[in-house]
Amino acid sequence: MSTTLPPPPKKVNRLGLEVVNYKGGKTTLCAGCGHNSISERIVECFYELGVEPFSVAKFSGIGCSSKSPAYFLGLSHGFNAVHGRMPAIATGALLANRTLLGLGVTGDGDTASIGIGQFMHLVRRNVPMIYVIENNGVYGLTKGQFSATADLGSTLKGGTPNDLPPFDCCALALKWGATFVARSFSGDKKQLQAIIKTAIAHKGLSVIDVVSPCVTFNDHEGSTKSYGYMKEHEEVLQELDFVPFFEDIAVDIPEGESMNVRMHDGSHLRIRKLSRDFDPTDRLAALAALEASEAAGEVLTGVLYLNTQKPDFLELLNLHEEPVATLPESKVRPPKTVLDQVMEELR
């Protein structure tokens, strides 16, 4: 009689995949970098929701943040584009194959400095994809220069203060057409998970600005993107709970305290108010809240805006349901009669 016990059953998701199937290569970013936490959240969320890895396409630009798609979802195709121009690559890929789940990861330099134009047009088009901005206010790969999200007065490691006000990527996204806008902090595991899961379920552009401290160049006293600063100044808007479509919502929610948003795929986002009254379906109120929090020196995190009704870019194009990239020749090359007709018109 054998005394060895059978190995414990492997933990798998609804597709029968293990968490390792959602991991990527080993990170080469600094130990303690906020970006690594975000990569971990991405792995967890895609695993827990049981997203088919091959249905995801990862996109990034250039910078520390943009390296990170190599460190998660190794079974998904990835495209590391040129600096600031990931939105164009992603838009093109999604035009070619609308069934892909687009996941873009970018940084504050990549998005708010060199890439502000493409970012704004991505927002304006409401391209259905997830757009994560790993925001540390600084250029890491070139060793510590300010980006366009660095706050006025925030200092570099050597003490030089920033003499320009920042772009608030969430405010820009709110103003110009993104349909899911959220801000989070790389150190807030639960909030970030709920937000990423909501973005996976959302049909439209999800802009997620995550304050993600750079431990090497921007985590010092005087920086407004440090762990320490976030601990003192983060103002959490709501308690978030994401219930995927394949799970029941059992618990009743007390009237008036929470709202329950049904996502396109049947999942639900439960939003429980904290200290302040805030309606995340009111775009103007969200803009006002961002203005007020900036004036008060707070970093507002949570779901700023969610609109599940607005049609996305691909819907507006009346695009074929199947990926146009792989339509058969019979669908994409008109017959000879068409050429004959056109030639006759030109005689």
């Binding site: 091959f54 939105p87 035009l95 009346n318 994409v332 030109l346």
Partner: protein, 614 residues
């Protein structure tokens, strides 16, 4: 085949009339935005319908309305459809330029002009036909605000009478131009044509020699501009993602494509578009989207001109290095910088061949006619996917925006070639793949498309250093290995690009090498050199870059080879310098024209006579 084969009209033996039949140029000087384009097209089409080979060249300003514009119609019984420098028949409608236009004419030319301009006072060696346009337009166009537009149709009637153009053909051309939906406008304009005809018949005694006669030089042919021909090529190539940013002279390529795709590329079963066309925010985005789409498996394209090419430079380097197929149409205009946006040049050859930083090489196709615009557009998509790289179709403003007589386009015989793409079944069979491994010896690896349902399908595309498995690397040996494979791939392309068109004249010691729209001027010049100077010539028209062995053979066969360039710095010759041996280079001479007008035969002939020391 771009040669226009025609049978010249028979001339009666013993006829002593000094008539010039079906062999002259008409130039119309107007103001842009005055509706002259319609009148000019109707005039050109009337000649075409009478079987006379024609070409039309529009020289227009970069402006919406109010600046001088010239349209030149060449009728040639010999089938020459290049620009001709000499003007035989001037229609002077623009007070601002009329005097200068008249002073430029050779003696003996005819001038139809707006009577108050009193151009007849300028010279005594021309045939003048004054027409009181304002007086004539009133009765045929009661609505005063339309008179500016209708007025120009009067010269169509005057010219029809003076040149003996069949008025039935003018009417037919006019109806075609306005279409069925604008029958009222057609009637109004026809009234103006008739008023002009009647006035000329009543008033003038013809004194100039130009006249037309019916012939059979245009049977079965079409009239089309190169941009529309490229658009049709794209549609029949099965293009699925089109991203663009408006820029002269390429905008009409995509605009025409939009029109055709809406008509012929909606899926009849679902009513959905089998394509996406997106106007991007700039050329950086348009090429980025085209590359993203090409990466995801679409047949993607963009169209632009020189400034757009400059902007696309960085992304093109990514397309080359990450090996992403797409097709870029460059309808060349005059540079540098904004340059002359509405004038033609072949000024992007050198920059495009090696566009982007680092070591890059890009294939280019050089259509010379609408028919080649059609066939080469289709070839470009196959080529891009076969070699997994951006391919450039180089046309120019002359080809793209002017109306050309062309043979009808042939329907593609070969099926679409999507290149080396592995499916989930392929991966099952192979058990995996390495994206950048040269399995077949042609330098081209196998790729998978995102969305492929297989655990081994994914790979990571990047513009940074990568090894055969598409993994990040900074290793010296990986980098060199990859760059050498890309170089080898380019060498393989040499054997797959369209071969040049070669005309070998056994009696010639000198030859021409050129590409694109230089064709018409060079071949007419060959005839001029032979008949006027007894100089025998051969020619080789390049259809693609990289160059092929044919070009080297051609140079070896001649003592001197003139490389014709429509740019200041001899860019085509410059490209040849990058790879030719010294002994071959020593045989090369340069003929350049860069004034912004379509190249004409006389310019080349004069230059050859000078350089040959005759």
């Amino acid at each position: 085949m771009s040669t226009i084969e025609v049978s010249p009209a028979d001339t009666q033996p013993g006829q002593t009339s000094p008539s010039i039949v079906n062999d002259f140029s008409i130039q119309i000087g107007t103001v842009n935005g005055s509706g002259s384009q319609t009148a000019n097209t109707v005039l050109m089409r009337s000649l075409f319908q009478m079987g006379i080979p024609v070409s039309g060249k529009n020289m227009f300003p970069s402006n919406i309305a109010g600046l001088p514009t010239w349209f030149t119609i060449r009728a040639s019984k010999h089938g020459y459809i290049g620009r001709r420098k000499e003007i035989d028949f001037l229609i002077a409608m623009n007070a601002e330029t009329a005097r200068e236009d008249v002073m430029k004419l050779d003696g003996g030319a005819a001038v139809v002009y707006d009577e108050p301009l009193k151009l007849n006072e300028l010279r005594s060696d021309l045939h003048f036909y004054p027409v009181p346009f304002d007086k004539l337009v009133g009765p045929v166009c009661p609505e005063a605000k339309l008179r500016k537009l209708v007025r120009n149709m009067i010269y169509d009637g005057v010219v029809a009478q003076l040149l003996s153009i069949d008025m039935q053909e003018v009417h037919k051309a006019l109806v075609k131009q306005f279409g069925k939906r604008k029958a009222k406008a057609a009637d109004l304009n026809w009234g103006a044509v008739q008023a002009g005809f009647d006035f000329a018949a009543k008033t003038f005694t013809k004194s100039d020699p130009c006249t037309v006669e019916r012939m059979n030089g245009t049977a079965g042919k079409i009239i089309i501009d190169g941009n529309a021909a490229c658009a049709l090529g794209c549609m029949f190539a099965g293009v699925t993602v089109v991203t663009w940013y408006p820029i002269t002279p390429s905008s009409s390529l995509v605009e025409t494509l939009i029109g055709y795709m809406r008509r012929f590329r909606m899926d009849p079963e679902t009513g959905k578009a089998t394509y996406a066309i997106v106007q991007a925010e700039d050329e950086l985005a348009s090429i980025g989207m085209a590359l993203g789409a090409g990466w995801a498996g679409a047949r993607s394209m963009t169209a632009t001109a020189g400034p757009g090419i400059s902007l696309m430079s960085e992304f093109i380097g990514l397309g080359y290095y990450a090996e992403v197929p797409t097709v870029v149409f460059d309808v060349e205009r005059v540079g540098p910088s904004t340059g002359l946006p509405t004038r033609t040049q072949q000024g992007d050859l050198l920059t495009t061949a090696i566009l982007s930083h680092g070591d890059t090489r890009h294939p280019m196709l050089f259509p010379c006619s609408p028919e080649e615009c059609f066939t080469m557009s289709m070839e470009a998509f196959d080529f891009a996917e076969k070699f997994q790289t951006p391919v450039f179709v180089m046309t120019d403003l002359d080809l793209g925006m002017n109306n050309w007589m062309s043979d009808a386009f042939p329907y593609p015989e070969a099926p679409i070639n999507r290149g080396k793409v592995l499916t989930a079944q392929d991966l099952d069979r192979l058990g995996g793949f390495q994206r950048y491994k040269d399995i077949d010896g042609d330098g081209v690896g196998y790729r998978t498309l995102p969305g492929t349902k297989h655990q081994q399908a994914s790979y990571f595309t990047r513009g940074s250093g990568h090894n055969e498995k598409a993994q990040y690397t900074e290793r010296e040996d990986d980098y060199i290995h990859n760059m050498d494979r890309l170089s080898h791939k380019f060498e393989v392309m040499r054997k797959h690009v369209p071969e040049p068109m070669v005309h070998m004249n056994p009696k010639s010691k000198i030859g021409f090498i050129y590409c694109g729209t230089s064709d018409y001027a060079v071949r007419e010049s060959c005839d001029q050199l032979k008949t006027e100077h007894a100089i025998e010539t051969s020619y080789l028209r390049l259809k693609a870059y990289p160059f092929t062995e044919h070009m080297l053979d051609f140079i070896r066969h001649h003592d001197r080879v003139y490389v014709v360039d429509q740019n200041r710095d001899a860019q085509l010759l410059g490209l040849m310098r990058l790879e030719l041996d010294v002994e071959l280079l020593a045989k090369l001479r340069s003929v350049r024209y860069y004034g912004g007008l379509p190249l004409d035969a006389r310019t080349i002939t004069d230059e050859i006579v000078k350089q040959e020391g005759q």
